[in-house]
Amino acid sequence: MSKKPDKISWQLSPAPESTEHITINKRYGLFIGGEFVQPLTKKYFNTINPATEQVLSEIALAGERDVDAAVKAARKAYTTVWSKMPASERARYIYRIARLLQERAREFAVIETMDGGKSIRESRDIDVPLAAAHFFYHAGWADKLAYAFPQKKASPLGVVGQIIPWNFPLLMAAWKIAPALAAGNTIVLKPAETTSLTALKLAELMRDAGLPDGVVNIITGAGDTGKYLVAHPDVNKIAFTGSTDVGKLIQRSIAGTQKKLTLELGGKAANIIFEDAAIDQAVEGIVNGIYFNQGHVCCAGSRLFVQESIAVEVERRLKHRMESLVLGDPLDKNTDIGAINSKGQLETIRKYIDIGKKEGLEMFQTNCPVPAKGYWCRPTLFTGVAQSSIIAQEEIFGPVLAVQTFRTVDEVIDKANNTPFGLSAGVWTDKGSKIFNLTSRLKAGVVWANTYNKFDPTSPFGGYKESGFGREGGVHGLQAYVNLT
């Protein structure tokens, strides 16, 4: 054939989600005692859209006195209203919140995507529906706690301080607030400084639900605000999701106090592919494991272990699949890879990519075009990685995969467990007995077999070792918010 076929463009046409139906105020105060109030610090900080670098809104910066006001409001609500209310009434409020969130799901999804950079496909299909599901599931526990703890009497802890990260802002808020409310506690919640908006929208929704004033208080700010909350003497419990380093600081700082603590920290999960796995599904699982939410996932499958006999084939198919990932406007419904959450995080990711290169590892990045404005990182993988490589040891929290190979089952179990983390793991094989061997020997709180990155309010989540302690979700997660006698 002398004539070459015409080049067909497989580019997808833009399909952006509309932003017309949403409202974002120019400025947000602190949600304390049932109303938005100006911060006593009189200071505000900008929250931006990481895909465009445009300012979305000004967010109040809570100082020590603001935190104190929020804790006082929560204490008052606890002693005067929430602890006296019949459990079945508490349940009704939480059900209401779930329903209101479902009704406003589209708005929340769009704002989540604008503020955090994650693709609308994920915020629409995962973050928001799961957040609503968390409220709905936990609502029903409020009047059934006696069934969760045989031979025990469960009573609320009082005021709980909750500090959440920027990778799943609304989902983490729901994940923390729902069980705490169901168990009868009142709350002071601090979202991450780059992603305050959906938590503040959630505050609007608490108000619309008629939730008594002060039962949920939302204070915004950065690390110092969190520190004040952790240090406040009238807080009975701290629930923290974030980095292992900050988790250790918190564990140290509350030493000797009566404060209860749950920590959901970092991870460096092994995702293990055996030669008898369904390869195409496994490749999907690898992609979902590490490139879901730009890799901003504590349980991301960031260490890939491929059995040597299929390593070449898996690598070929994985690179091919990666090339089809669409990077760009997070509001576009075709987008797979959104924006990196912040400039700081992008710098962290780039630092690790440089380390990988300096370690002499072979790097592959996809060819997709990258927008001029905003923070972006192409899906990246390193091959020829050793256990000693820094990119195989430290949590990167970005779309960077470290690929290693193995020969035997024992070898891969040793390698997978040889990390201070223990949040999650993945196993891919068609052999049932092998799955159970692996799932019982991997030291991780969540093990996905022939699937990855699945979440559900009924399913406990949390880590072993330095990935933290305590569980969130399911019947086991309730224990984090009750006193048992």
């Binding site: 600081l249 030493a255 201070p420 030291k443 709180g445 969540v446 699945k454 559900d456 070792k465």
Partner: protein, 301 residues
Amino acid sequence: MASKKTTSKTTLPLAVNKTYKIYIGGAFPRTESGRYTEVRDARGGFIANVCLSSRKDFRNAVVAARAAQEGWQDRSAYNRSQTVYRVAEMLQQRESLFIDEMLTMGYARTKAKREFDASVDLIVHYAGWCDKYIQIYSSVNPVASSHFNFSVPEATGVVASIAAQDAALRGIIQACVPAICGGNTVVMLASEKYPLCAVTFAEVLATSDLPGGVVNILTGNRAELQSHFASHMDVNALIAWDVNIGDEIAICRKAADNVKRTYFYESGNKSLQPVDYIMNLQEIKTTWHPIEIIKGSGSGY
């Protein structure tokens, strides 16, 4: 007889006294440090020397505990249950030995007898838990997607344990048996006040089909060793009895270095049930697996 008072008149033949050593990896070494401390009776008479264990002894014990952990956890629950039950059998056999030892260390006879009986009771109770707590505290979770999802308790790993000061036998049992019922391995520091029973209890463990390294017992000085118990990076959890607030703060700060689970207990605490001591040393592991579409994706187990 545990008593070896050099002051008392000796009858022929001369008693062959026991050397009280520590218990690491199923063997009875002396402390590597060569240090000792004297145990004396209420009137100041010499009873025995016991090892004043060092940081290095502790580190050796952690190595032994780590090496034994996976194998112990992999034993069937039934087997662990029988092994713990055998600990009770071996203990019961040595009733007079333990009671004599407690009397030598200053216990009143009735108190010694009461504590011994309670100790055997406690071990038998715990033996029964080995194959039951998993059922009670597990769940199958009705997730909304087409997956089979279940959560089970699993051992936290290596536990560093500081036993109560005032209960010679019951204290050491509480400080190690719940941990091993749950598949953990233990490095335990015995009561400084009553160290002899801990060493004799090690002999019970050594004859109970318990693999070496599952329980390791040190005698020594709490103030010297507790910071090392707290800071060791290959210890997953720390449990301690009757710790004052200052020490608790110091321990917690170091324990955070590797996010240790820490539990501080008081000897008199009645609000905790035995199984709570097991469950505090458990992680919850959740496993997911897809289900080939049962009536569409909306269904679940």
